[in-house]
């Protein structure tokens, strides 16, 4: 019963915040509802007993949307509305419906199939974090390491670019 109540509560909250993100013309509303929606999604992971994924959802999107806020601060006056360019509604409608259909059919396919088994079923008796660790460091080791190296490169490059003039004295 708890799960049902929580599911519908968070489903409405998530969809509501993302609809606000799309429909509003106020940049601050859009960013805030985006952040809220991303954090509400983590509730579904917690309901599925995927605690680790839930927490990662919170941690990653908090930082990611915060970076968006930083850009928002630089480019928009947050106290005024944005004038949006109106594209032909039919194109948006057709594209949106097609993308939605493709995604929904992809997600529904396993439910419709009569025989469904995960490629890497969870190991019984092991925790959530351990299960992710086994898959990540055996089957997906190479992509994982590649992603790590890319992120490290980006971080070092960022520090070098940002800290070029940090050593200047105050008097200069």
């Amino acid at each position: 019963m708890f799960e049902l109540v929580a599911f519908y509560l968070f489903a409405f909250l998530t969809i509501g915040s993302f609809v606000t993100t799309v429909k509003t013309r106020q940049p601050l509303y859009a960013l805030t509802s985006l952040a809220a929606g991303m954090i509400f999604i983590s509730a579904f992971f917690f309901m599925l007993d995927a605690d680790f994924m839930g927490v990662v959802q919170i941690v990653v999107y908090t930082g990611a949307v915060l970076a968006l806020y930083a850009f928002g601060m630089m480019f928009f006056d947050s106290s005024s509305l944005i004038k949006e360019k109106q594209r032909p509604a039919s194109t948006v409608f057709i594209l949106g419906t097609m993308i939605a259909l493709v995604i929904v059919s992809m997600l529904v396919a396993p439910i419709a199939a009569d025989h469904f088994q995960g490629a890497y079923p969870p190991i019984e008796g092991e925790g959530n974090v351990e299960n992710i660790g086994y898959i990540l460091f055996t089957k997906y080791l190479v992509p994982f390491e590649l992603a790590a190296v890319m992120l490290l490169t980006a971080m070092i490059a960022g520090i070098v670019l940002a800290s070029k003039h940090m050593n200047l004295k105050e008097s200069e």
């Binding site: 680790f52 927490v55 919170i58 941690v59 908090t62 915060l66 806020y69 800290s163």
Partner: protein, 331 residues
């Protein structure tokens, strides 16, 4: 009484106890802070209201509750109103995963003093604590005030600086313990004083403490509300209880960080020689709170570029070297 009913009642009682006790303690900490700061600066601090100024807390409370609630006409009102709630709420949500005391027996049932025992407790507390910085950010951006905007920009600076250090510094103890659960971390240090993780990970302890000060924006890093530079930063336009909620959130966050440091590095709620565990952790938390105030009295503010410089060019490489050495030793 069935288990489900008991579970519901237990959770509700625990959650309300956490919120009530910690907001009361947060109020009391303001008095404690003023007194400690005063004694360190050879003053007497609040003296007039009640014996030794003890009723000052009540006076402050009455003032905050009865002050006019001003919402600026040109601000973005819904976000302006919701921002303090974000800070206060996330501070208390983060506490849901903190095991405050050792489990004890009550009415024939074992009570675990933790609201929700998620097995990734430490990440949950850090992650939700980080969401708390949305409060100052939204407040600054919504209040349509130059100082507020500067405060919001500095919040972003602070967030991108400390977050990487707190994450990387906590990684080394996690590698040693092999679990993300705060209860496991605590149980790992049950072998007396020498099994405390502070002796195995002194660098991680220091780095995490520094990052914790930045997360709760305490003095060396309180650049988002630096009075001498930007009036009150994000809080410039706030008055009355809305400002008070920022305050409660900040103090509740301080307690979360103090509990986190005690649990991960200082032996948690294990019995300490003749001191029972529950009292031991209270003493540790009180000491860490005193350290917060001591640091505030002893150190000046730093500039935004200095915090970025320090976090990214000094502390972050240090944390990575620490992880590297820990990894080598474990291998």
């Amino acid at each position: 009484m069935s288990d489900v009913t008991f579970y519901i009642i237990e959770t509700i009682i625990k959650a309300s106890l956490v919120v009530l006790i910690l907001s009361a303690i947060a109020g009391f900490t303001t008095y404690f802070e003023r007194k400690v700061l005063a004694f360190m600066q050879r003053r007497k601090g609040p003296m007039h209201v009640g014996p030794h100024g003890l009723l000052q807390i009540a006076a402050d409370g009455i003032k905050l509750f009865t002050k006019e609630d001003i919402v600026p006409a040109q601000s973005i009102k819904p976000i302006f109103k919701i921002a303090p709630i974000i800070t206060a709420a996330t501070a208390f949500i983060a506490m849901a995963a903190v095991p405050f005391f050792p489990p004890f027996e009550l009415f024939g049932r074992t009570i675990h003093p933790i609201v929700a025992d998620v097995n990734v407790g430490i990440l949950f507390v850090l992650g939700v604590g980080a969401v708390g910085l949305y409060g100052p950010l939204l407040a600054g951006m919504a209040s349509n005030n130059k100082w507020g905007m500067l405060g919001a920009a500095r919040t972003t600076v602070q967030f991108v600086s400390y977050e990487v250090v707190s994450g990387l510094s906590i990684l080394a103890p996690i590698m040693i313990v092999g679990s993300l659960s705060l209860v496991e971390m605590n149980n790992y240090q049950s072998g007396g004083l020498l099994s405390w993780l502070i002796f195995k990970q002194p660098i991680a302890f220091l780095l995490f403490l520094i990052a914790g000060y930045a997360e709760t924006n305490r003095t060396p890093f309180d650049l988002l509300e630096h009075e001498a530079e930007i009036i009150n930063g994000y809080g410039t336009e706030y008055s009355g209880m809305r400002w008070g909620m920022f305050f409660i959130g900040e103090y509740a966050n301080m307690f979360t960080v103090a509990f986190l440091v005690s649990l991960v590095f200082l032996g948690g709620w294990n019995d300490f020689y003749f001191i029972p565990g529950a009292i031991a952790i209270i003493l540790k938390v009180l000491f860490l709170m005193f350290l917060f105030l001591w640091t505030r009295a002893a150190w000046p503010h730093i500039r935004p570029d200095q915090i970025m410089w320090m976090m990214w060019k000094v502390l972050m490489p240090l944390a990575i070297v620490n992880i590297f050495i820990t990894g080598l030793v474990i291998l």
